[in-house]
Amino acid sequence: MSAAEPLVVIRNIKKLFPVRRGLFDRSKGKLIHAVDGVDVEIRKGEVLSLVGESGCGKTTLARLILHLLDPTEGNITFDGRDLFSRNRAEMRKLRQQVQAVFQDPYASLDPKKTILQVVSEPLVVNGLSKDQLNLSKLVRESLTAVGLSPPELYMGKFPYELSGGQRQRVAIARAIVINPRLIVADEPVSMLDVSIRAEILMLMLDLKRDLNLTYVFITHDLAVARYVSDRMAVMYLGKIVEIGPAEEVCARPVHPYTRALLSALPSADPRTRHRGIQVKGEVPNAIQIPTGCRFRPRCLYAFEKCMTEPSLVKVGHDHYAACYLGQEIT
């Protein structure tokens, strides 16, 4: 895979959240390091998946890319332009090119709006449709594209009348209706039934091909990530610890954390039940990040050098890992 041109460039982005002051105020002034210095490029036309356990910062990173949050430090450029520009008109324009699909299709659709209203909202908000006729034409096209056809059957319905899979299709229709270039999908299939998951994944990949989209795909499910993505980025405590071609990362993981994740995965074949997992302890909280390599306290390979935090180094073709052992442990 050749290194295509980057669409989004993320440089040393950080997002720290103050710990909310509770009744006894013990954690006053403490900060949660949700995203703690991420550098990554999203290439035109690729599917980049972000994987990791809860609390690793993958959703916060997604929200930064969507500009739903302002970063504490660092910046993101979209097609060469500053995403966090103070110029409102510029910001509006950039935002139209980035759309989101969220995890829970039961919560992400306004229950009081019809499907027509839900899907047409991005057009209305951005003033992209001149008249009602054109508006409903665009909505019809979008619904047809996500497989809700004939669209007339769905446009007058309310979200409660649809199944989970259909709702997620509506959410996708809403995302594509204004022709974005990037879609950030945060666990888009996690809440769906197994049999419907495959259907939505196939739809998303077909749309990507037909509409020339780029995806950031967030999931905790490594098998799903491997299936949909070109490149996979593994996050741990707010940092990317390994990134590379999806199949390569799964077949030849380098970072001990990636290996731990893969070793923990239950096998889909009862004949290859496996025991033995390569990690100790639990994820520390993101308030007191361990010094040095943040995976050090749980790592089976840690040695002295790990007291200084490693940065991402090349370990294979287009494959990088933040570990001193590099290829040595493979």
């Binding site: 197994v194 049999s195 905790h220 299936y227 239950p266 009862p270």
Partner: protein, 240 residues
């Protein structure tokens, strides 16, 4: 029923995070389970809880803690300790790891496996996650719309599923090995169970469906040594 509940069989619920009372130390919640079913002295109860905590991999001193002081995985361990409190013969685990991250999931599945081996208990594991089943079970019952459609030895069913639903289900999950071929999926949705028809319940979504499937609901019949299937056309499917 009261005599059976918790003493003979117990349950591990899905939402470990919400199944514990937030305002009581976990010790008291487990003690409650024991005291409701057995006449034991306070001292013995405390001792038993310590033993249980050790068995599920928690520090016995942690029993004084409140649920919010535990992580998700540890809460699930507390739930397992509670389920084992009265030495049941059968434990029903309803999606025991669904809310957990992979590494924690592995640790809990490993714990469940070792406890089952050590204590010789029977388990019913309820889950939508086929790989968790592949990892842990001996026998599997595949349910669809309120009925068991395929039942039997896990190795036989995962290797050569005979019911179209089981087949589709197994082909719809992305795998960690091999090439990334197009996933199959089951189009349509589950039938409306408020209006039962004489048809096979999978009829509307089945690619093998024929006229008879809309008229006669197939019974679960034993087809091979250890497998039962409810499908008119299992023979044909089996030959493919």
């Amino acid at each position: 029923m009261k005599g059976i509940r918790w003493k003979k069989m117990s349950i591990i619920f899905q939402g470990a995070l919400n199944s514990l009372n937030p305002v009581l130390p976990v010790k008291e919640q487990i003690a409650e389970a024991i005291e409701a079913h057995e006449k034991t002295e306070q001292k013995n109860v405390a001792e038993r809880i310590s033993t249980l905590f050790t068995a599920v991999g928690l520090e016995p001193t942690r029993q004084e803690n409140y649920p919010h002081e535990f992580s998700g995985g540890m809460k699930q361990r507390v739930m397992i300790a509670m389920a084992l409190a009265c030495n049941p013969e059968l434990v029903i685990a309803d999606e025991p790891t669904t809310a957990l991250d992979v590494i924690v999931q592995y640790q809990i599945l490993d714990l469940i496996r070792s406890l089952r081996d050590k204590l010789q208990i029977s388990m019913i594991l309820i889950t939508h996650d086929l790989s968790v089943i592949a990892e842990l079970c001996d026998v599997v019952a595949v349910m669809y719309a309120g009925k068991i459609v395929e039942y039997g030895n896990i190795f036989e069913i995962f290797e050569k599923p005979k019911h179209p639903y089981t087949r589709a289900l197994l082909k719809s999950i992305p795998k960690m090995e091999g090439s990334r071929t197009r996933l199959l999926f089951i189009s349509g949705s589950v039938p409306d169970l408020t209006r039962p028809t004489p048809a096979c319940r999978f009829y509307a979504r089945c690619s093998y469906a024929q006229k008879i499937c809309s008229e006669v609901e197939p019974n679960l019949e034993q087809v091979a040594g250890n497998v039962s299937v409810a499908c008119h056309f299992w023979r044909q499917i089996d030959k493919e």
